[in-house]
Amino acid sequence: MQRYESDVPLISFQHVAYAYPASQAGQESVPVLRGVDLHIGQGEYVILLGHNGSGKSTLARHCNALLLPDSGDVLVGGQNTRDVRALREIREQVGMIFQNPDSQIIATIVEDDVAWSLIMRGLPAKQVRVRVEEMMEAVGITHLRKLPPHKLSGGQRQRVAIAGVLALRPRCIIADEATSMLDPLSRQEINQLLHQLHEVYGLTIIQVTHLLEEAALAQRVIVMEQGRVLLDDTPTKIFADLPRLRALNLLIPEPLELAERLRAAGMPLDPEAITLESIARALNS
């Protein structure tokens, strides 16, 4: 298992502030990040949690220079995202998938789409073929290779998008609300895939979500509020204070709510129980 070395963070935010520019003259620009300091190490699985408008997606978009800070710096693998010469390398190291996979699927059949970024980069055909095979295998879409994307389900299309990003061999994948348009089973599948990539390839995963169910499975949860990092801890610690999460306008899953109420009524449930399986175990013991 790959563990991150704390002295060399993969991504570091230093006093980052950002405001979206005013859309019309006379309007004020709206600050979205207000002084974020944050370090994410190689091999971490991090959840960025927050309600609409808390700044979590804006933060994620700073991780691969899609946005540049107004003040402060973002370093990826030690390189500043402001450095134009490092841009290509940064984008290759930190890949991103979005809410709607259609926004990054380009080619007319699956295998061409996975190959796209590699061909653009000018890799020799033989190497492209090897990598495409490998990536389709890694995300489980080899049997769909000749199909056009519109024949696939939402979950399958999201897999294609992930394979396309993986092909560049990034060190980190950012999933920005990548499961929110999917039906429940496809959502579970994509979450499992991200965890598998994390475990098998030691990839750093940064998952942006407003769902606590997804946060329960991570190693580290960062809660954003009004453009600041409000909480940064393990899921167990963060979930120990549900009233606070509720006050932050986050939706509490019913199983967690049930466990909280039973504990309050004096039932000695394991406080570490935050996933469905562990709550079931706690209730049954």
Binding site: S153, L250, L251, P255, L258, L262, A265, I279
Partner: protein, 289 residues
């Protein structure tokens, strides 16, 4: 017989182009009671949207019948404009359809196009904004674009409500909304049903939402209606749901897991409150033993 507002009989529909025919609905027969809230569930591509589009005449059946409030959809002589007045439809991410510079102008667009006099339009806009919890005197003159995501969505809903539909169809109404935005929208739906006696048809992937809002569920799988019943009936059959790519809400997944492990949770225990009370008593009992 109960008062049915929509019913279909052996409804079938296929999408066709030059080279292919794709069957989207097969022999769907269902009844929706006036004033109820029903949900249509199924994975992407199961036919949910196709079915909905028959309810306001955007599509006409290839075979079978669709009746809405006594009118047969697609039959000769049926005024489709009448039909669409009765059935309002809120699409996914409706806030992207907002266009006017004031909230009043946006919400008034529908009733104006329907030819209502100025005073009537104003009354309709007022009622609609009241229903969505954004009072006329505070919001009518403002721009819809300075509101939060949840508020924008409610403005879009008001635009549909201003046409006084008897049936309201909502496609994934809470996707992308945070907890507060959801609660506000649920509040609106409650008011629409209580104050206007409206019928609500919900299409959603969020099973917890469906369980708490709908009285009756229809499950579609590859264009066929494979199951219907109360949320309690449907979500107790989690194995079958899984075979159609669906899952019960998290709380009911938890109960299914516990039942499998031998905890005797009775099938009628359904809401969070009921589950809580049952476990509380169960743990007291097992401690006494």
């Amino acid at each position: 017989m109960s008062d049915t507002i929509i019913h279909t009989r052996k409804l079938s529909y296929s999408y066709k182009n030059a080279s292919q025919v794709k069957v989207a609905l097969r022999d769907v027969s269902l009844e929706i009671e006036r004033g109820s809230c029903v949900a249509i569930i199924g994975v992407t591509g199961s036919g949910k949207s196709t079915l909905m589009q028959h309810f306001n005449g955007l599509l006409k059946p290839d075979a079978g019948e669709v009746w809405v409030d006594g009118m047969r959809v697609g039959a000769r002589g049926v005024d489709m404009r009448q039909l669409r007045r009765r059935v309002g439809m809120l699409f996914q991410f409706p806030e992207s359809q907002l266009f006017a510079s004031t909230i009043f102008a946006d919400v008034a667009f529908g009733p104006q196009r329907m030819g209502y006099a100025h005073r009537e339009v104003r009354t309709k806009v007022m009622t609609a904004l009241e229903l969505v919890g954004l009072p006329f005197h505070l919001y009518a003159r403002r721009s819809p674009f300075e509101l939060s995501g949840g508020q924008k969505r409610r403005i879009a809903l008001a635009g549909v409500l201003a046409m006084s539909p008897q049936v309201l169809i909502l496609d994934e109404p809470t996707v992308g909304l945070d907890a507060q935005g959801r609660d506000e929208l649920y509040g609106c739906l409650q008011r629409i049903r209580q104050e206007q006696g409206g019928t609500v048809i919900l299409v959603s992937h969020d099973m917890a939402e469906v369980a708490s809002l709908a009285n009756r569920l229809f499950v579609l799988h590859q264009g066929s209606l494979v199951m219907q019943g109360t949320p309690q009936e449907v979500f107790s059959r989690s194995e079958e749901l899984r075979s159609w790519g669906l899952a019960a809400p998290p709380l009911h997944e938890l109960l299914a897991l516990l039942r499998k492990q031998g905890v005797p949770v009775p099938p009628e225990v359904f809401t969070l409150d009921e589950v809580y009370s049952w476990f509380y008593e169960y743990s007291c009992l097992s401690r006494q033993i």
